[in-house]
């Protein structure tokens, strides 16, 4: 078992950059007025930003080779609220929950919390352990 943690920070500028990089220009991730008009407390981060940021822990775990991440999945259980002019921290923790030497794989379970609330649920990745041949 290995324990991994990472804190990532997000602000409005980063959400604008993620919107451009992902093509997801939904205004609830950039415009507080629009976000509030649909019942949200403020601008929220894209769930996929949070998932992408959390998975960097896994990429690190496999030596920076994203090709060793065979699958990953998550549920979106909470919101990362990003007020104007503020940096918001998301704490990501990971643990290896299963190793399968025969298949050459490991399963990692991740949690991500923001302001004490769990924002990703059942976040899991399966990675290839060692060996260079894909």
């Amino acid at each position: 078992m290995s324990d991994l943690t990472r804190t990532v920070t997000v602000d409005r500028d980063l959400l604008v950059a993620y919107a451009a990089a992902s093509g997801d220009q939904n205004p609830i991730h950039q415009d507080a007025e629009v976000a509030r008009s649909v019942g949200l407390p403020d601008v929220i981060a894209h769930g996929m930003w949070t998932m992408g940021a959390a998975l960097e822990l896994v990429t690190d775990h496999v030596g920076g080779d994203p090709g060793r991440i065979l699958s990953c999945q998550t549920r979106f259980t909470g919101m990362v609220v990003v007020p104007e002019g503020r940096s918001v921290e998301v704490l990501v923790e990971g643990v290896v929950t299963k190793t399968d030497p025969e298949a050459g794989t490991e399963t990692l379970e991740l949690t991500a919390t923001c302001a004490g609330e769990k924002v990703l649920g059942r976040c899991q990745a399966v990675v290839r352990t060692g060996g260079a041949d894909a």
Binding site: V8, L14, A17, Y18, A20, A21, S22, G23, D24, N26, V38, G47, M48, W49, M51, G52, A53, L55, E56, V58, T59, D60, G64, D65, P66, G67, I69, L70, S71, C72, Q73, T74, R75, F76, A125, A132, A134
Partner: protein
Amino acid sequence: MSVNPDFAGREYPPAGPFEVTADQITAFADAVGATGAAHRDPAAAQDLGYADVVAPPTFAVRLAQQCEAQLVQDPQAGIDFSRVVHGQEGFVHHRPIVAGDALTGTLHVDTIREAGGHGMVATRVELTDAQGGAVTTVTSTIVVRGEG
């Protein structure tokens, strides 16, 4: 339920091809805080055995969401985008995405069901490369919040 259940089981014509560039990969990596050299330095990617810079594990969402737009933006499907929240997302990587790929995505609507007054729409996008090889399977569930 406002979402049209007749769309369940539907398969859309392939969308794309989407050209994947090194700049797209690096911009995506920057935005999610993926700091690895393999996302931005071709030599580092080649050391790992890739032809060019390699995408972070959720990069395929950029392509999948363009395919999903065929459903979400279809008035007949009855999806009110202002009421949509993202329920879950999953990726199965058959091989990593690298700069220079030209990927095509085929959208499948796997299930549409109602739960607690909300519409739950589960989709799957199969991304394939120019040779027809499987690259990534992207699954997504969106929740269309009920009016009540």
